[in-house]
Subunit: 337 residues, 4 copies
C-alpha cells in the first residue's frame, strides 16, 4: 500500500501518521522529495482501511499495490481450481456445457428441452425457477414448482441442475435440491446472501454485476470463500456500457484477466450479454477461443412462445449445430467439447 | 407499444402476429410502407412482454412508448407525494436534512454526532448499523447493537432514524425500530427484498443503483409500491462512469427527470457520490438549486478516525456552516432550510 | 511517480532499472518488502514515459503521483485566470452569459436572436457557422456566410462572438473574425488543431470530450497553453454514460474538480448535455450554484423551425425569465448576473 | 421513422404536423389511441431532421426505424466489400495481418521489424509517423522522416504500409506515399478530415472512437463513402467503460454487429484495447474466432525500449508463435492465415 501525502506536510505530521500506521503492524518507508512525499507500507496491509487513511487531512491519495482478495488470488493458490459436481467438472480440459431455458415454464417444456440438450452434449441443465425481473408485473417464475420440475428433469436426464437463488430464505431448499446455485448479476453485491452461501458446501455460479469491476467481482467471490465455501465458478455475462445495439457488452478480456488474477474457473453467458439469439454463435466461438471454462446458453423448444428472454434463446437444433462448430475451435486451443 | 417488422414480412405473417397480439387485448394498427412495416399497439400494453414479441422471427424491434411504471408515474398521480415521518416531511417546501455518520461506532460517537447535527438544524439522523462493504475483511457494522444505539440517539434528540437494511431476516426488527428504511444502491434490484418492503407501512429510502437507469430505478420503486407501500423516497447517489477523479458521477439531471416522470420525492447524497469531503459543499449547493427534496450527508465528530468513509465525512462545525450557505439558495428556489 | 515491481524481481534487476531511471535525471528510492517492491521517483518526472517503464518485464504497474499538466495546474499558478475579451471577462465575479442559436440560419434569425439575448443581459453571442453533424446528410451550417452574419450581429449589438472551428484551414479567418474560438467536444483530442490554436493570441473555449476524463481535458488545455496561448476557457457539456433519458450526463462535479486542479475558468453548457429544452432551467440553476464561471445556452427565436438542435433551444422570453431566476442564486454564492 | 405525440395533442395540431411532414415528401400514417398517438412515416425519411421534429411542443419522441446510413448499409449492398491494396485483400477468405511498431523510431528499427513480421507472414506493415499523444510533452513521432522510413521499409519488404493521418494538411503526401490511411480513434468524428478523405481513391482504416456507438462509427464511414471513397476498412480497438483493469474494453460483439449492418470489412486491434502485451494472444484468438477480417498488432524488436506503447507490444518471435496458434482457429471458422 502506498500513501501519498500533500506536498507541504510537516515532518511532525509525517511522524505522527507513520506512528499510527506502525501500530497497525506494518513497516512504513518514507520517500521524501521536494514536491512529493510518499509512504511505502510493507507487511500485511489487508487490515488497513484505505478510506480511513484518506480521511487524514495530510493525505492526498492511498493506492493499493496488491489485490485485496486472498482466497481467490492466484498468487497464493497457483493451481487452477476444478469444481466437481457429481463427476461433471468445471475448470478442466473439457468445456462445461450448461444449457436450458430462461424459465422453467411447464413439465413438458423443461423435459423436452432437458432431453434435447442432453442429446446434443450438454452436461448441465439450467432453468430459472425464481426470476429476477425489472418489472413487478412480469412473469416471476414458477418458484418451488419450477424447482420440482427441474428435479424431475434431472432424474430423467442425469444432468446436474443450475438455477438462481433470489432470497436467503431459500438457502436450505437450494442446498438440498440444486447442484449449482446461481447468484445473479443484480445480487452480486448482496453481501448477506454471499455470506450465507459461504457456509454451504455447494458450488456457486457467481455472475458478474452489470457495472462491477473485475476486482469487485473477485471480492464477491472472496465473500463466499472467506466463509469456507471455495467452490466458486465465475460467470461473465456482459457489462453495461454506452453502446445500445447489444443489451450489454460482453467483456471477453475479463476471461484472461480473471485467469491471471485468480485460480477460479470462469464461464461465459453469450445469451444474456447480447440479448440477441443470432449473436450467440459468434460470441460462443470467441468465448471458447479466449479460454472460457464453460458456456451457459439459453435453449428453448419454442423461443417465440418463451415466457421470458425468447429473443435471445436458440432452438435445440441450433444448439446442436453450434456445438459442432465449436468443437474444432476448442481443439485448436487445447480444450474439448 | 410499437412493433417494427422486418421489411419483407409476408401479409400472412403480419396477419398471424396481429391476431396473436389482439388476443392479448390490444388494438393493432398496421402502417405498411415499402421498406418498413410497423404495428402500432393501442390499449393496455402493460401485460405484453416486449421480449416475447421480439423472439418472433419477423420482428425487428419492439419499442415502448409509455413508461412501464404505473404507481410511480406522475401521469396517473399528478400531485407530488409528501412522505410524513412522525411529523417531519419529505417532499414539501422544507428541504429534509438527513445527517449522521457512515457507521454507528460507539455510544459516545452517535450521541455526540446526533446532538450536534440536531443543533445545526438536521431533522433526521442517519447511521449505518449493517454495512455493505466490498471486502469481507472490512468493518461490517455494529449490527443490532448499532440499531440500539440509534434508538438511544433518537430518544435523546427526537430525530427520526434512517438506516440501511441488508437482509430480509431483519425486516421485523426494522419495521419496529427504524423510521425510514434505507435500501442501498447494491440492493436496488434485490427484488425479493423490495417485495417484502412493499408489504410494510413504513417509508423506504431507495438509493439508485450504481449503473441503474432512471427507468430501472423507478421500476424498483414500483416493486415496493405494487405491494401497497407507497411511501417511497428516491435517493440519487452517483452513477458509475468512466471518470475516476470522483468515486461516482453525481447525476443531478436525474432530479428534474424524476420529478417529471414521477410524483415521488427525491433526495441527494453528495457524500457518497464524489467520495471527497471537500466536494460536499459544492454538490449540496447544486442539489438544492436543482430542486432536491432533501440532502443526506455524512457527518462525523472525528472523520480521520471514522471506521468507514472518513474521507467523505465532514465535521459538525462544517455541517453548520454548510447549512448557512445553503439557506439563501433554498430561498432563491422557493424552498426552506 | 511510483514504480511497482513484480514480487520476485532480483536485486540485480532492481539495480539495472534504478540506473536506467537515474539517467533520466530523477532520484530513485526503493522500498523493499517481502511481497512488494516499490521504487519512489523524486524529481522532475514529466519527461519520463509511463508506458515505456511499464514495458519492462519486471514492472507490475507505474502510477502517477502528480498531475501531468503544468501550465494548466493550479499548484504552479494559484490565482484564478480571468480571460478578458474586449472588456467582457470570463472567470471574474460576473457570470459570463453566452447565448444564441445552435446554427446561424439567416440574417433575420441571427440579428433577431442577438438583439433579444442582448436585451436580456447576455454578454456574448454564440452561433454555429460550421456544424459538426453525425450524419453527412444533415445541414452542415452556412459556413463563411454564417461567419459574416455573426460579424454583422456583433456590429449591431456589440456582443463578442463565439463560434466553433472545424478545420485548421480556417484558423486565419477565425483569428481575424471571431472573438472566442470554440473547439467542439469531438475535436477535444484533435491534437494538431490544438497545437495550431496554441500559436494564436485569442481565447479558446475548449469543450470536454464526450468520454474524456477531467485529466485528459486539462491535458488538451495544456496542448494549447504549451504553445503559448494561455487564454483557455473550459466548457463542461455532458459526458457519455449508460443513461439514455438525457442525451448526455452533465458532470457538475467536474466544476469544483477543475477549480481545484486548475486556474482556468470553466463554463457549463446545459443545452447540449440534456438535449431537452425543459431541463435547461434546472441545470442552469445547479451550474450557477456549484460555481460555474459562465453559461452557454441555446436560444432560438423559433425552436420548432430551427435547422438543428431545436429540441434543446429555448425562446428569448424563456431566456429572460431564466436569468431572472438565476440572479438570486448567483448572489447566494457571491457571484453576479 | 416514428413520431410519438403527447397524449392530449388536438386533432388540429396533428393535422398541422402531418401536413408539415408530408411537404417533406413522406406519407404520414396516424395511429390514434386513448393514451397514445403515433405518426408512422413511410417513404424516404433520410432528409427529415429528427431533432427538428422533436422541437415541436406536441412531440414526445421521434424514433428511427431504419439505420441512418445508406452507402455503408448491408441492406442496399448485400455482398461483402473486399478492399484490394496492390493485390493484398482485406475482407476475403484470408485474414489480413497488419503488424509493426507503435512508432517508427529509426531506420534500423523499422527495417528490422518490417523484415521480421514479413517473415512471420504479415501482409501489411503498420507504424506511426505522426502520433496522437495525450500529453504535449510526449514523443510526437518522427513525422515526415518517419514516412520516408516507412517507404524504405515497403521497398525492402514489399509490404503495403498503414499509418495514421493527423491533419488535413498532410492529405496530399499521404495520398501519394501511403497504402492505407488510418484515421485514429480520437479523430473518428473529425468530420472535416473525413470529408477530405472521401475525395481520395485510397483505402481508409477507420478506427472506432473510444465512446462511439456502432451507429456513429458507421455514420463516420458514411461520411467518407458519401464523398465517393468506398474503400473503408473498420477497426475495433476497444471502448471506454468503467473497467480499469484493461486500458479499454474490446467490444468483440461489434464484429458480428457490423457484419450484419454493413458490408464493410472490419479488423481488430488487440494491442491498444487491453494495453497489455500478455493479453494480445488471447484477444487475437477471440477476434479470429468471431470473424474479424484482420488483426492489427503492435510488434517491436525491443518493447522495453519502445518510444511509445512498449507495454502492449510483442516481439517478432512472439508474433510468429501467435500466428501459429491462430492458424487452426482460422481454419475452424473457414478462414485462412
Amino acid at each position: 500500500m502506498i500513501v501519498i501525502l500533500k506536498p507541504k506536510t510537516s515532518e511532525e505530521e509525517i511522524k505522527r501518521l507513520t506512528d499510527e500506521l506502525q501500530v497497525e503492524g506494518v513497516e512504513v518507508n518514507p520517500v521524501i522529495g521536494k514536491d512529493i512525499i510518499i509512504l511505502g507500507l510493507v507487511g500485511d496491509t489487508s487490515k488497513i482501511d484505505k478510506d480511513r487513511i484518506e480521511a487524514n487531512k495530510n493525505v492526498e491519495k492511498v493506492m493499493h499495490v496488491q489485490e485485496p482478495f486472498k482466497k481467490a488470488n492466484r498468487m497464493f493458490h497457483p493451481e487452477k481450481t476444478i469444481v466437481d459436481i457429481n463427476g461433471q467438472k468445471i475448470g478442466g480440459k473439457k468445456i462445461a456445457l450448461i444449457a436450458g431455458p430462461c424459465s422453467v415454464e411447464s413439465r413438458d417444456q423443461i423435459l423436452e428441452v432437458a432431453n434435447s440438450v442432453k442429446k446434443c452434449g450438454a452436461n448441465f441443465l439450467r432453468g430459472g425457477a425464481f426470476k429476477p425481473r425489472t418489472s413487478p408485473y412480469s412473469f416471476q417464475g414458477l418458484k418451488y414448482d419450477g424447482l420440482d420440475l427441474l428435479k424431475e428433469a434431472r432424474e430423467e436426464t442425469g444432468l446436474p441442475i443450475v438455477t438462481e437463488i433470489m432470497s436467503p430464505y431459500d438457502i436450505e431448499v437450494f442446498e438440498r435440491d440444486v447442484d449449482i446455485i446461481q447468484v445473479g448479476a443484480r445480487n452480486m453485491q448482496n453481501f448477506d446472501l454471499l455470506k450465507e452461501l459461504g457456509r454451504l458446501n455447494k458450488p456457486i455460479l457467481l455472475k458478474r454485476g452489470l457495472s462491477s469491476t473485475i476486482e469487485e467481482w473477485l471480492m464477491s467471490a472472496e465473500y463466499i470463500m472467506a466463509g469456507g465455501n471455495e467452490n466458486v465458478i465465475l460467470c461473465e455475462r456482459g457489462i453495461r456500457t454506452f453502446e445500445t445495439y447489444t443489451r450489454n457488452t460482453l467483456d471477453l478480456s475479463a476471461i484472461p484477466a480473471v485467469k491471471k488474477l485468480s485460480h477460479l474457473p470462469v464461464v461465459v453467458d453469450p445469451s444474456h450479454s447480447a440479448g440477441k439469439a443470432w449473436m450467440v454463435e459468434d460470441l460462443s466461438k470467441a468465448a471458447v477461443a479466449i479460454g472460457a471454462d464453460g458456456l451457459i446458453i439459453e435453449v428453448h423448444n419454442n423461443p417465440a412462445k418463451a415466457l421470458c428472454d425468447g429473443q435471445q434463446s436458440i432452438k435445440p437444433s441450433e444448439y446442436e449445430e453450434l456445438l459442432n462448430k465449436l468443437r474444432p475451435i476448442a481443439e485448436a486451443v487445447g480444450r474439448e467439447i
